[in-house]
């Protein structure tokens, strides 16, 4: 920096391309370093297998996996599995949203209802949902219904719990304003309670999106004969490491897409809030 300011203008144009590139790199530092980190690990992994430090049959390698992605994408296993998983995931998550938010609202708005609901919500929320999965299998057997139900169970508690808290946090100050102007109960709910609970519901949605994905994979690992989770379980049983890696990769990418999608939706609800940067 100081060197540039002391140079006469004529030499400044000589090193300007270099500084331009440097500045570009500095501005994109985050992306460049992130990509670099991924590449470094992949190269190291490849080399470790090539050098024979680790066995190819158990570790596989990036080049083998990428070849496998291409063949699997052309085959008739991966894509249908992906659709099956996506369907169960979306249905379960959808039902959890539609059931969880009203449940939380009732628990947060009506004092007596919250006394009734709270022990159940607290207990079920504290129990690892995975522990309930075998019970669901006894009740519903193996198949789409139990899968959807398991996804629902994983996702419904964050919705119910957060919505309940959000509704309870309604600002007394705003309620006073509404009552002073003579607002009806339904007007108070629509204009104050629900908008005030939106940040809590968005947090719930972010949690639910991740938990539902855990739910769908768990369900397919133990109680299904289709889907990405089932593919993982087959790959594991047949020591097909590349297939296992491909399936896990797709589950990961799937989760990433859902999380990013949530961020976009969240921003839609956030127009009235100050920018976090300012």
């Amino acid at each position: 920096m100081s060197a540039r300011t002391t140079h006469p203008p004529s030499t400044a144009s000589v090193d300007s391309l270099g500084t331009k590139i440097l500045r570009l790199i500095r501005r994109r530092e985050r992306i460049i370093l992130g990509v670099l980190g991924v590449i470094m690990v992949l190269v190291f992994w490849e080399l470790v297998v090539v050098w024979g430090w680790l066995r190819q049959s158990t570790m596989s390698s990036p080049s083998i996996i990428s070849e496998r992605i291409v063949t699997e994408l052309g085959g008739d296993r991966l894509i249908p599995s992906l659709w099956v998983t996506l369907r169960a995931y979306l249905i379960g998550l959808g039902i959890a949203t539609v059931v969880g938010i009203p449940l939380g609202f009732i628990g947060g708005w009506y004092k007596r209802a919250s006394y009734l609901l709270e022990p159940w919500l607290a207990a079920l929320n504290a129990t690892p949902t995975v522990a309930i999965v075998p019970l669901i299998l006894i009740w519903l057997g193996i198949g789409q219904t139990s899968k959807v139900f398991i996804v629902f169970l994983f996702a419904v508690f964050p919705y119910a719990f957060n919505t309940m808290i959000g509704v309870r946090q309604s600002e007394a100050e705003f309620l006073g304003v509404a009552r002073s102007f003579g607002a009806s109960q339904s007007k108070i709910v629509r204009s104050i309670v629900l908008p005030g609970a939106v940040p809590y519901i968005m947090t719930a949605a972010r949690l639910a999106v991740g938990r539902a994905l855990i739910g769908v994979v768990v369900a397919e690992l133990v109680a299904s004969n289709t889907g990405l989770g089932f593919l993982i379980s087959i790959a594991s049983g047949t020591f097909d490491t590349p297939l296992l890696m491909v399936s896990v990769l797709f589950v990961g990418v799937f989760g990433l897409i859902m999380t990013e999608l949530m961020k976009v939706i969240e921003r839609q609800f956030d127009r009235w809030r100050p920018e976090p940067s300012s």
């Binding site: 100050e173 304003v177 102007f181 007007k187 204009s191 009235w272």
Partner: protein, 267 residues
């Protein structure tokens, strides 16, 4: 002429639920307000001035006496009173326009009509062009303007204002005082204003009601005979300073000290 607001022998007694001891917050408070009058209540904190405003606002029921607006009990008269709150209390998820329309919406007017009626009021309070801003984008003074607009939009008989400028810095507060007088003269509303700032009370009002500390009693009803329109500079004039001193003496006289020492013997 029929008074706009009439308080008749209002008393407010709180009974402590466990000890059963009672505290008299307001005692025998009576006042009548003429149309388009600007009346201010001043008093030390805890004198019951905010309690009286809550009663006038229909949020509290007095233990004795009545408060009526145009002869109608305040509990019923919610269309007749518009309240300006101490904190702006704007809904952060609504725009300025929607917030200004909110009081009317609460009374059951549909959103579109409420917003149409809020538009000219926003212009009146000097917020034309800010209709689509959100509260977090406004300064403290501008938020209080929306607070005033929300109360004015319902076109009330009387405007109840509870220390609306208390949280503003001194300069903004003075500016808002003169702005309020401008808005008031154009809207020709009756105003009941509560404050603990003596200069604010004298500057704004036609009448200053002075209350004593617990129990809150009316100890003086001072007519401010300074002609309008009032420039902020009148705060330095002899008559203003004289009236200010008169209120100050009433609030800080030997009687109120005596009452403070007697505080422990209540009940």
């Amino acid at each position: 002429m029929q008074p706009v607001l009439k308080a008749d022998g209002v008393g407010m007694e709180y009974v402590h639920p466990r000890t059963g001891r009672s505290v008299l917050a307001i005692e025998d408070f009576s006042v009548e307000m003429e149309p388009q009058q600007f009346v201010t209540i001043v008093g030390p904190s805890g004198c019951g001035k905010s309690t009286f405003l809550k009663i006038a606002n229909g949020l509290l029921r007095p233990t004795s006496g009545t408060v009526t607006i145009h002869g109608e009990d305040v509990q019923e008269a919610r269309r007749s009173r518009g309240t300006v709150f101490q904190d702006a209390s704007l809904l952060p998820w609504y725009t300025v326009l929607r917030n200004a329309a909110y009081g009317l919406e609460c009374q059951g007017v549909n959103r579109k009509e409420a917003e149409e009626r809020a538009r000219p009021v926003l212009e009146l309070v000097g917020l034309a062009g800010f209709e689509h801003a959100h509260p977090h984008e406004l300064s403290g003074g501008m938020r209080q303007r929306v607070n005033v607009a929300r109360a004015l939009t319902i076109d009330p008989e009387i405007l109840l204002m509870d220390e609306p400028f208390a949280s503003l810095d001194a300069q903004t507060r003075e500016f808002m005082q003169s702005e309020l007088l401008g808005i008031w003269s154009k809207s020709s509303k009756t105003v009941l204003f509560v404050t603990h700032q003596i200069d604010e009370a004298v500057y704004l009002s036609d009448r200053v009601l002075v209350m004593s500390a617990r129990p809150g009693r009316l100890i003086a009803d001072i007519t401010v005979d300074i002609p309008r329109p009032r420039d902020l500079r009148i705060k330095r004039e002899a008559r203003f300073v004289e009236l200010e001193g008169q209120v100050w003496d009433l609030l800080h006289g030997p009687e109120s000290e005596h009452l403070e020492t007697a505080d422990g013997h209540v009940g």
